[in-house]
């Protein structure tokens, strides 16, 4: 095998053969090492949460990757290719000043203009004390109703944007709620309080740039309406055809109302889980 091992021959085909073999082996090994090194590099560059979110985002279906501007009706159709992070979106400003679409039809579900919405169906509400309150948005509330259990992060721990903020259990299904913003856990609430977490953002909460990646006003309207459509389709169970809306009002605790529906898929796409 090597010139110094017994049985080695300085013949053309022996040398050629072994040369080819070693080339192949080196190629394979270097490929793997290369991949590993680049992976290590990535890990240093970006936080784990970011990486996970990026890959999950890549997994999202087209229809779930609409740009906020499309949702607001500022453009006809635009797909986000920036993992919903408008803070680092080069083209954000190009469309930001365009007028949003006018009339908004009734959703049968209300949302607050003061709140900033995350695509994982959480809202962010800045407080005077420099923290922000975080809660499940109305649609999520309606879906989940009262969770059977809630697993909160530790007080004072740091959480990353799009990382799992807290977990809930409902009818044996686990729900992971993504954090709408990065920062330190300042206070822990509960479904009764109307908010789940208070976070002290890493960046200045009063600087508009901090919350730039979250949906506001008309965007929220467009987004929620599409989310409702999606749910309609996903929860349409064979046989019966229960609509989400009951006399225009969304049933509270939909998971209890229609337990037989494919909640796996529904929750996955609602809370942007992969």
């Amino acid at each position: 095998m090597f010139p110094w091992t017994d049985g080695f021959r300085w013949t053309i085909n022996h040398v050629v053969f072994l040369a080819l073999f070693f080339t192949v082996v080196t190629t394979i090994v270097t490929t793997v090492i290369f991949a590993a090194r680049r992976a290590a590099h990535d890990l240093q560059e970006h936080s784990g949460a970011e990486i996970c979110w990026k890959s999950d985002f890549a997994e999202l279906a087209e229809s779930d990757r609409r740009c906020r501007h499309e949702l607001a009706g500022r453009v006809i159709s635009r797909k986000c290719d920036n993992a919903f992070d408008c803070r680092h979106c080069s083209q954000y400003s190009q469309f930001a000043d365009l007028p949003a679409a006018g009339t908004l039809h009734e959703l049968g579900i209300n949302y607050s203009p003061q709140r900033f919405y995350h695509r994982g169906h959480t809202w962010v509400e800045p407080k005077e004390d420099g923290t922000v309150a975080i809660g499940l948005d109305e649609l999520a509330e309606h879906l989940v109703g009262n969770p059977d259990s809630v697993a909160m992060p530790e007080l004072g721990s740091e959480i990353e944007l799009n990382a799992t903020a807290w977990r809930m259990k409902k009818n044996g299904k686990e729900i992971q709620v993504r954090a709408p913003i990065e920062g330190k856990i300042a206070a822990i609430g509960s479904p009764k309080d109307g908010w789940y977490l208070k976070i002290r953002p890493r960046l200045d909460p009063h600087d508009p740039a901090t919350l730039l990646h979250l949906l506001r006003g008309p965007e929220v309207h467009g987004w929620l309406s599409r989310e409702l459509e999606r749910l309609q389709l996903q929860l349409r169970t064979p046989g019966s055809a229960p609509s989400l809306a009951d006399g225009g009002v969304l049933i509270h605790g939909l998971m209890d109302a229609a337990p037989e529906a494919d909640w796996d898929t529904a929750l996955a796409s609602t809370f942007l889980e992969a």
């Binding site: 090597f2 110094w4 091992t5 017994d6």
Partner: protein, 557 residues
Amino acid sequence: MKITRRDLLVWSAGATAGLVFTPVPYKLLGDLSIWTQNFPWIPQPAHGPVDVKESSCTLCPNGCGMRVRMAAGWPVGVAGARTNPVSRGALCPLGFAAHQLNWHPLRLRTVRHRGQASSWEEARTAFSKACAEGPIVIIDGYPGRAASQHFENFVQKQHGVYRVVLGAESRALTPYEKWSGVPAAALGYDLENARTIVSFGAPLLDGWSTPGRFTRLWAERAAGMAEPQLRLIQIEPSLSRTAARAWQWLAIRSGGQAAFAAGIARVMLEEHLVRASGPMPALTLAESAQQSGISPDAIRDLARMIVAQSPAVAIADDDDPAIAALNVVLGAVGTSGGIVQRTKRAKSYLSAEPVIPSARAVLIDSTVPWDFVPQTDAEVFRFGAWEGGPNKADWLLPAPGFMEELTDIPTAPTSAVETYAVAPRLVKAPPEVQSAVQFLGQADPDLMPVDKIIHTRCENLFRARTGTLCAQQTTPVATIPSVEKLEEQLRNGAVWMGEPQHPGGVRCKLSDWPQATRSECPPCDSLASWRAPVLPPLASKLYQESSLREESDRRNA
């Protein structure tokens, strides 16, 4: 500077990396590869000083000369010894693996009395008790040895009987003894001078008598020659190995041998092809043709050819008087190329019955073929080195195996010249075995022991001053200074060869064609020809793995 742990780590890492570029790891791997092969359960040959001993094979009464390679005191290989004038360097297949026989799984190692384990003491007391009660019979399968002499001395003192079980080759010569008075043990075939050999089923090319003698002769004078100097005609029902290689094979109807011989004789006499006015067979040619399944013409042609190609001799596979008679008619008895008398001094082993009714004990020597079973109600003491299958003996007594005892080698049964050799003890016998000689020796201590007998025989040879001693070079006995020298040479594998006798001497008086066919039980119970009690394991293996031997031959496989 101070060496931190880090430095050490770096250094050792570097060293390991560097090691890869030295031959060390590769050499280690190479050694590993060798090491992976020494599995403990694989037997390794014992190494030790190697030397070669000349001796003679004692498996059967033909005593072929053999060379034994010894390593660390054990025999590790057998080859033929070219110095032996009769076997001329050839051995039968069994000989080549015979050195492994002593470890054969069927080796007898304990005294057994009617199936129960017993001891030599009990055997000895039982034997002397029987001796005290009445006459005893000792049966020998290999007459003429010093041991045979020992047996005879014993029975003489005990008023017992000494009997011999002869092999087929020897039995084939007994009819001539009946007609001429010359002991069969003194007769032999003068094959070297024959031009035609008519074999009636005798396995001439398949271990007949001293294998080397005829096979070499055949190879030199017949094999593959269009016009051989020696014509081998095989008369046999089936295509045996000999038939397959013979110059001519006549597929005779089985049992038709006597008739066929009669037919040949008739043709010879009717057509006056032969001088001798021998007895005319009763059978007509047609009858013999009908009984033998060979056409009258074929018989006639053969008869003429035989005479034309004389000297010729017919060889029977057993004591078939018709075939002997054919030789008489043919004039092949007492003539060169026929049946000759090789010595004046020989005993007759013909006997009415092998076992006398009044016998109290029958002692059977280990040389007697295993399938010999005496018809007697006396107590049977059976010596044997290997268990050869069921046997009615009361006592099974483990005897020394191959090369485990000193013995001498008298002339081979069919040889035309007289020979004498000695087979020394090359391997130490296990303590639990005893030869019949030792056994009798303890029963009667004043008997002359075997080595003494051998010594006296050497003295006789030395005094006679005839013959030559065949070793690396042949030396006339007359030129050997002392009897000790002679004996020493014999014990180192030299073979004494007597003067070739002039033909004649043996004259057969045969007035009318013998009616009797071959004797049904020669000279007693079922016994075809000499047979090894067991085959060397390698022989069994190869017969099992090749298409050479038929199943029947493949014993103890």
